[in-house]
Symmetry: C2
Subunit: 459 residues, 2 copies
């Protein structure tokens, strides 16, 4: 197999590895934090960088403005209208970086340690976006063209809920029309096992604010008098799950479809709890006690408090009863839960729990998404599964993903394409956390998978 298509591509990659890494670092250095308004200019600079990079590869580009951050669209349609079209989705925005003091090297100054690139976005999703581009480059450098038509949709608001994308998708249906849709933002189970994701959980997020007295008050003079909003918040939040981890919100589980034995057989339904402990420092003890760990992560919905703040949180102590306290909550959803229905149920239940002397307000966010299931037998899933198997030299597994890519249902609908969910993330990549990192070996594997899948779809 010295001259297999894969061998040729691999050799090409190796030859240019240094240059590839340089480009990657440039991409990573742009602090495109989409959820923090102060970084607006940096997010824009990142989209500019992508446009220039894609143009230099021979793509035609468009920048679709939104109320938030722009979408970068690129197309290479030389294959002609008798050939199928693959639309690839990535995002170029990244998570915030706090707690900043826990980063071993600054989040926007990439460093390599033990073959891993450390930087915010190194995996999620700049790393995965970047190997996509490298895969395309390999093919263009090898053949001067693609065997199928290629479109790219790279958004800048995934980390703040893809707020603007749905509207854009509706307006750009013609541009987005495709036969296949690859979402490149997923993970493997472990570094050595190829895996394609057949579904993600849905998402609804919200803010909760609890208010008491009209201003902060002294907790000595007023302790026993004022109803402390932090206590009210804590009491409310503690009532959202019972002692078995079950979510207590009326109607929360009503639309959950239980998974059949036949469907379950398609998946590799195991979680290595020792590996998990090695990755995270603790056993997976969260969620509903009535279910196994992998069920809790894949096929059960969740309710998590993602942030809480109230009163004095600085150094020292302040004997204060604050005027207000607040929390951020997210729910992960499984088929057939709908984010709107769940959002309303959570919000109504929380508002009913307000004690006397306390007002409670829930603000449901607009960035929300339905749970997703892909068709294991579709041409696009089969092609990518073969590419994964070739690159890893192992049969490709099918898995599910606990995280959400809220935009997948809308992208599927806008493009009218068969969807495949792929990626090379690993559990311990520290995405959304300090010291995020991504292996250089995975930049190579990812580029090869993209290139081979396109060849297979064109064959």
């Amino acid at each position: 197999m010295t001259n297999s298509p894969l061998t040729v591509l691999r050799k090409q990659f190796k030859t240019k590895e240094e240059e590839i890494l340089e480009d990657f670092f440039t991409f990573l250095r742009i602090p495109s934090i989409s959820s923090e308004p102060d970084y607006r200019a940096e997010v824009r600079a990142c989209s500019d960088w992508l446009v220039e990079y894609l143009q230099s590869m021979g793509f035609k580009t468009q920048v679709w403005p939104t109320k938030g951050h722009p979408v970068v669209f690129a197309s290479h349609l030389q294959a002609g209208s008798d050939k199928p079209t693959l639309l690839i989705y990535n995002h170029y925005d990244v998570q915030p970086v706090d707690p900043l003091e826990e980063w071993e090297t600054p989040p926007f100054e990439p460093h390599v340690r033990n073959g891993q690139v450390y930087a915010r976005g190194a995996q999620d999703n700049k790393g995965q976006c970047f190997y996509t581009l490298q895969g395309l480059k390999l093919l263009l450098e090898k053949d001067g063209k693609f065997p199928i038509n290629i479109k790219l949709c790279i958004e800048g608001e995934e980390e703040c809920g893809s707020v603007s994308l749905p509207e854009v998708l509706k307006a750009k249906k013609k541009e987005l029309k495709a036969d296949y849709l690859a979402i490149v933002d997923l993970s493997l189970r472990d570094a050595n096992t190829p895996a394609i994701t057949l579904g993600t959980r849905g998402l609804i997020t919200m803010d909760l604010t609890v208010e008491g007295a009209k201003s902060d008050a002294h907790s000595g003079s007023n302790g026993g008098l004022l109803y402390n909003p932090i206590h009210a918040l804590v009491e409310i939040l503690s009532k959202l799950r019972d002692t078995t981890g079950k979510i207590t919100i009326p109607g929360f589980y009503d639309d959950v479809v239980s998974i059949s034995e036949k469907e379950r057989a398609k998946y590799s339904f195991i979680l290595d709890e020792n590996q998990y402990q090695a990755d995270f420092g603790v056993k997976p003890t969260g969620g509903e006690k009535a279910f196994s760990a992998i069920e809790r992560a894949w096929i059960r919905p969740t309710l998590e408090i993602n942030g809480i703040v109230g009163g004095y949180t600085g150094q020292g102590f302040k004997t204060v009863i604050p005027a207000k306290a607040s929390a951020k909550i997210s729910c992960r959803l499984v088929p057939n839960q709908h984010p709107d229905t769940i959002g309303k149920a959570v919000s109504a239940y929380i508002e009913k729990l307000a004690p006397a002397g306390i007002s409670v307000k829930v603000n449901l966010h607009v960035g929300r998404g339905k749970p997703v299931r892909a068709d294991a037998n579709s041409k696009v899933v089969q092609a990518f599964a073969q590419a994964y198997s070739e690159v890893f030299e192992k049969p490709c597994e099918f898995i599910l993903e606990g995280a959400s890519i809220p935009i997948i249902p809308e992208l599927t609908e806008a493009s009218e394409a068969q969807v495949v969910l792929i990626g090379l993330g690993l559990q311990d990549d520290q995405i959304h956390a300090p010291n995020e990192h991504f292996g250089i070996d995975r930049i190579e594997k990812g580029a090869l998978i993209i290139a081979r899948s396109i060849e297979l779809l064109g064959g």
Copy 2:
């Protein structure tokens, strides 16, 4: 009564009011925030200012260094050893100012609106310290001397729990020796009713930290797997009080002494709930439902969460399961609860509540204090009560205070003096909160009370 001692003093004050206010503003402009390490130099500058001011009045001063902020000690012993000595306690440090954005005028730029001086410390305790100094000045200006010996102990760490003072008090027993001890850091029930406080609640404060995974994790991939430390924190905190507001910590109420009908008759045991609502915007709905509002504020212990933080609390949203979450807790204590006993009981109970996959740590603070009761029949209480009655032209009430001055028991012991707790604070002065303020009329009343009490103690 045209030439009563009070009339003379009042005239003196009115003549110099402008100059007095100028001095007050200078004192208020120094941001002596003791609990924030960044303000160390400013706290020091404030003690320097006091020293200079006291020396200009003819006091001998000493600055007692501590591991934290210095204690200013001043004495005026001209009356001679056959006359009694009054030791007066104040503090010159102030609370932090956050949330800064809620101040109508900057906290360290005093402004007068409707006869009220707005600034951090305007009441607590620079206002009360300042009228003490003015009262002394009035007497010195009138008579050139005091009828008794005067000592002042003005500390710089009250707002961070008087951490260093106990050690200083033990070392300076000789200097602090006195017959009477006036603690000038208390409040009235309303602006028109003179009142002396016969007791305060004790205090124990602590930090609570809850830790899960070794770093922050994505709440999609790990939701249902990791035990979220915010949930653990919320669950633990919600178990510290039951639905009737009763504190559930084993042994918490064991040492609480119920107050006799005879003792109760001494006090004005009423809270005007409508006035409270006008001051705070809400009715007093907190605390133990089994007790009346005033009982909850005066003679019942509390447990309050004074701060809580975990996860992402900035703008937008971050789908994170944080590695840790934390809270600050304080308990107000009544006779005969001991801060050490209660601290241990709370700490032990909390640590026992940690769920699997979560570690919990409680850090008890050293700044703590016992509850206090003063003797209504002592000479010092009687003298101050008469001075209050003269200045307000009404009989003086006896009240209790829900807040704590942890240092009173130690001060009483070090000075071997009869204690009186006085002050002119009001519920809506916004101490420990944005827009703290103090009435100029109370600077005058306070100065007159101090001056007249000293005359009465010397008579």
